[in-house]
């Protein structure tokens, strides 16, 4: 029988990272993600890796840049205000094509905001966040198991495309405890070797540079086009989403992460009362599952997008399915604003006339 553990989402991220061979962690304490550095600080010495509690979020993302440039599988984690501080380094990593994992166990804002769950960092995560017009791979776990599984996937995707990856979760997914079935990590056989990584020029006879500065005429444009070809390729090959009761749904509820969990319960309640409703849960927020929305609204279905913010992902949904009626229900983040299943069910009743 498979071993089952009862752990927090944050611990599952740490376990998944270490199992996936991450041996370099750089971070700075911030609620509600501090279980991640605490777990790794405890476990890393025995694995022969390095854990650094840096002087700032800025330093920790730049340590990640340095470790990544040297070919290491490495990570940092933080929460919203700290992720804002990391944006400079994230932009450099994107520009320098340095893979690596950035975990955002997001909290409410703006500013110091609060420590409770929030999905208000969606724009920051999926639209680049820092300067210069780049994207991260953004994965949105909705369970403790997915915190483990998607952490592993994030490393693989990041290494494959040389694009930094982000786990975007929040206080709900990070702090809740659920059963986790940890499984051994197997590296994909076709992961490209890191021939670009810096080891000193001696062994290969030619010196290498990891950089984002391109001053020659046309150089930077070509570099940017190369980055955007990778984003397009990911859009083709790496989209992931989960569907629930979508086959005959007249209303497609869509939500990710913590609100997807609540919406799932609401959809189940609605189904029990005969409403033809389903749930489409994006797992990759970038690349965004545009085709999934097209497919599941092709017969004139409506969409209800639920978020723990005042409307962010809904923009991407509307862009994915122009002409389709897309309703939005959101709660502005802050203590006490987590929607209940009944609250979402009430919205379903408002927008779904069809009952079987």
């Amino acid at each position: 029988m498979t071993k089952r553990l009862f752990v927090k989402g944050n611990e599952a991220v740490a376990m998944g990272a270490l199992e996936a061979g991450c041996r370099y962690y750089f971070g700075y304490p911030i609620t509600p993600q501090s279980d991640i550095p605490e777990y790794i600080a405890r476990e890393m010495p025995a694995l022969g890796g390095e854990f650094i509690q840096a002087e700032s979020e800025i330093a920790s993302i730049n340590m990640l840049l340095g470790a990544s440039a040297c070919g290491a599988r490495a990570m940092t984690s933080s929460s919203s205000p700290g992720i804002s501080l990391k944006q400079e380094g994230i932009s450099y990593m994107a520009g320098s094509e340095c893979p690596g994992l950035i975990v955002n166990i997001s909290r409410s804002g703006p500013g110091l905001g609060g420590i409770d769950a929030s999905q208000a960092d969606y724009f920051q995560a999926t639209k680049g966040g820092g300067h210069g017009g780049y994207h991260l791979i953004v994965l949105a776990p909705a369970s403790v198991q997915e915190m483990y599984d998607l952490t592993m996937l994030a490393f693989d995707l990041s290494d494959r495309y040389r694009v930094p990856a982000m786990i975007l979760a929040d206080a709900v997914i990070g702090q809740m405890k659920e059963a986790l079935e940890p499984h051994p990590y197997t590296a994909p056989a076709d992961l490209p070797p890191k021939e670009w990584a810096l080891i000193g020029p001696g062994e290969r006879g030619v010196n290498k540079v990891v950089k984002s500065l391109y001053l020659g005429d046309g150089e930077l444009e070509q570099h940017n086009l190369k980055l955007h070809r990778k984003y397009a390729e990911m859009q083709e090959k790496e989209v992931r989403y989960a569907g629930y009761e979508l086959n005959d749904a007249e209303l497609v509820v869509t939500a990710y992460g913590s609100t997807a969990r609540i919406a799932h319960t609401a959809v189940r309640l609605a189904r029990q009362q005969g409403y033809k409703v389903g749930l489409l849960r994006p797992i990759t927020l970038f690349p965004f599952p545009k085709m999934a929305y097209k497919r599941h609204t092709a017969a004139g279905q409506k969409v209800l997008c639920v978020e723990l913010n005042t409307g962010q992902m809904v923009d991407d949904v509307r862009l994915a399915v122009p002409g389709v009626e897309v309703e939005f229900y959101g709660r502005a983040p802050g203590a006490g604003s987590l929607p209940t299943p009944e609250e979402i069910f009430a919205q379903i009743r408002l927008h779904c006339e069809v009952r079987s």
Partner: protein, 257 residues
């Protein structure tokens, strides 16, 4: 000259193998070229060119990846000591150094350099102090001298409003993690020799003691100082050294000189 004498000749001066055979972009009279050469000579002395990873900063020194025959990571402004920390932890057996200007290290990157030194990261830091932001056109730096006119201190630096120039070497020498901290200049042949020795020592501190070594090099910026190269060179002794005294401020390395 007889053929026997030719055979007896030996080469005593050549381009360091750690330097690429290219022309630099530096302005006439800028001393980055001299300092680059001293860093390259230090790498040659320890025969580490093939293993070394350099971390370039933002400013005139950003192009060092084109001048040194080594692997280089280009760091965000001020963050080179953090980037170098990540690199060194991955490659503890390989030499890692940063090369940073005064705006980079003593203004925006103050936090990174202090904590890198405080952790005693076994890296070498070369800090080039020319009392101005060279690349961006001569603005006031944290090391700009009192009353010095720059494009953003057009009436001269007023310590009452702008603060005083920061003496980074003395500051870092006060940290437990710093094993070696020295300030040198390259305005005279004698100072060039001393500077070469200090830079070599800062690499030795990393390679043999596995500790943090720091060298501040006073340098010229004739273009942004609005001076002829010869006058700029003279300013180092006349104005900079009195405020930024030369010397070894800490040597806790095992070998000594």
């Amino acid at each position: 000259m007889s053929s026997e004498n030719v055979e007896a000749m030996k080469q005593v001066f050549s381009r360091p193998v750690s330097l690429n055979q290219v022309q630099t972009h530096f302005c006439p009279g800028c001393q980055h070229g001299v300092i680059h050469r001293l860093v390259a000579q230090a790498m040659d002395a320890f025969d580490i060119q093939g293993q070394t990873i350099g971390v370039a900063s933002v400013g005139c020194s950003v192009f060092l990846y084109g001048y040194f025959e080594i692997d280089v990571i280009e760091a965000p402004h001020g963050r080179a000591p953090a980037v170098a920390t990540g690199a060194k932890r991955v490659h503890p057996q390989r030499p890692v150094f940063t090369y940073q200007g005064d705006g980079d290290l003593a203004a925006i990157g103050t936090s990174e350099i202090i904590h890198c030194a405080n952790r005693g990261e076994p890296i070498t830091v070369i800090f080039v102090n020319n009392t101005t932001y060279g690349m961006t056109g001569g603005q006031m730096a944290p090391t700009t001298l009192p009353n010095q006119r720059t494009s953003t201190s057009p009436y001269g630096r007023d310590p009452g409003k702008d603060g005083y120039p920061i003496r980074m070497t003395e500051l870092l020498a006060g940290l437990e993690g710093t094993a070696y901290a020295a300030r040198v200049a390259v305005d005279t042949p004698q100072h060039v020799l001393q500077a070469g020795k200090a830079i070599k020592k800062a690499f030795q501190t990393q390679l043999q003691d596995n500790r943090f070594g720091f060298v501040e090099v006073l340098s010229t910026c004739p273009t942004n100082w609005g001076m002829k190269p010869v006058d700029a060179n003279a300013r180092v002794a006349e104005e900079m050294i009195p405020y930024f005294p030369l010397g070894v401020f800490k040597d806790a390395s095992a070998q000594g000189e």
